[in-house]
Symmetry: C2
Subunit: 297 residues, 2 copies
């Protein structure tokens, strides 16, 4: 038995709120590792495959929290995170001393700090632990997890995070995980513009864009997005790996945080405006590579 703090790490009772594409895959890993998992998600039918795989169901976040050692949340927007923690049927209605809450949602650093403060006041611990690596990373249990919060809690929870994560880095106090994820999204946002502009230039210049990728992908112009999203752009495949609407949410959080630091980020602002236009034009449920459409039309 591997008992640390007050929690038996070998077989935890875990509450998991939000079983979408990402959350669902993570729950499967937790079940496979032998943990008891109780789930809640807005539309119960989405959780059915997990219930069939051995998860318990609870009717509210508060009920999920009632008997769990650790409660994990992975929902959509900061407003959802707020509801799940602070709502009338939220986690904080029924939680108890010694419990640990971990928010895996990409959400606002300010909200992560507020949750941490309120959790501490109730004798609980919290981590903000947004992930990257997409649906494939979640399926394979190879997510990058960026953690903020109390360092001892991080160390305590590390074996649990290792069940579904690979690159797991403690980034600092509460909010630092979310800030790191914002830094990640900022790097992606502006690069997406560069990738689209390189491709559209190549096409308009009459080049074979796939040959151009042969020349430029492995050098100083190389990036994950150029290698992974350009081929989809060129094929006109705009199915979502990562939703435009969620990416826009992240950019808005990052810009708001940057504004509070009085930090102008013109590249991020440009990307946010371009993606906002895509959402307004009805592309919110497409993949982020649909930005290429903005240049093609």
């Amino acid at each position: 038995m591997n008992k640390k703090g007050g929690v038996d790490m070998d077989k935890l009772s875990i509450g998991f709120i939000g079983t979408g594409v990402m959350g669902g895959s993570i729950v499967k890993h937790l079940l496979a590792a032998g943990h008891k998992v109780t789930v809640y998600t807005r539309s119960k039918h989405k959780a059915m495959p997990l219930i069939e795989a051995g998860a318990n169901w609870a009717d509210t976040p508060a009920q999920v929290a009632k008997s769990a050692d650790v409660v994990m949340t992975m929902v959509g927007y900061p407003s959802d995170v707020e509801e799940v923690y602070y709502g009338d049927e939220g986690i904080f209605q029924s939680c108890k001393e010694g419990q640990i809450v971990i928010d895996l949602t990409t959400s606002s650093p300010s909200l992560a700090k507020r949750i941490a403060k309120d959790a501490a006041e109730k004798g609980m611990s919290s981590l903000d632990a947004p992930v990257s690596g997409g649906d494939i990373g979640a399926q394979n249990g190879t997510l990058s997890i960026m953690c903020g919060g109390d360092e001892k809690t991080f160390e305590h929870m590390l074996p649990l995070l290792q069940v579904f994560g690979k690159q797991i880095v403690y980034q600092g106090e509460a909010g630092a995980g979310q800030h790191t994820k914002m830094s990640n999204q900022i790097a992606i946002a502006t690069n997406m513009i560069g990738v689209c502009e390189a491709l559209i230039y190549a096409k308009r210049a009459g080049l074979d864009a796939n040959k151009v990728l042969q020349s430029i992908s492995s050098g100083a112009a190389g990036s994950w997005s150029l290698s992974n999203l350009s081929p989809r752009m060129l094929k006109g495949d705009f199915e979502p790996g990562f939703f435009v609407k969620h990416f826009l949410k992240d950019m808005k959080i990052a810009l708001k945080e940057a504004e509070e630091m009085s930090l102008p980020l013109p590249g991020l602002r440009l990307a946010k405006e371009m993606y906002e236009e895509l959402v307004n034009d009805g592309y919110g449920d497409k993949g982020t590579q649909v930005l290429f459409q903005s240049y093609e039309r």
Copy 2:
């Protein structure tokens, strides 16, 4: 003996104009491969190490061209390319039928087309063959070479290009090499903004930027620039791998070509404005990673 076209590929007489950091390394590879190389560069003293290594010296581009099977050029700006080909002492003053000219400079696609047309009228062949891979790629002979021009000439010259290049792709008719290089620079330009903004955000948020890089470099935010230039930015090392002034030249060429295609590239425009400001502020001889300074000051 490996005789193709009119040129004995085993031992060519090569003229090389422009022996800077990149050109100098390429000449060394050509000499090492057993070719006879005659060089010219604006300041003779810069060619001395090559002359000591066995290269011949000529006093003008015209003299270089006089006895060469193949003339290669690698100078600074399109205006330098123009001078070297069309000037009073330029290549076209003394060239002869059957000769091949290859411009390795990153220059304007329009100028490449003009050179190709004029070369053809004189019974010569030409390639535009800009490279990427930087000083290290030139030293190691592992450059990426993006080629435009007549395809037979490309195939004929391929063994020669393989002496200093690794990823060598024929991109299409005259100008296609330069257009491909423009696409490369466009992808880099906007991504540089994203890299800087991700890092400055991380620093201002109070994070340890090196730890943030651990979390984000290998995922969807990953890029050559993030991995290779961020560490220099964080150390305040702004020594040139690639000069700001040359990068600005490339962006101006790309924007001009895009304008002629009526193609708006807002990301590239933003990058060009930011780098222009750096040049105006005296940073033209720094490396492109000095863009980070624009956010720090």
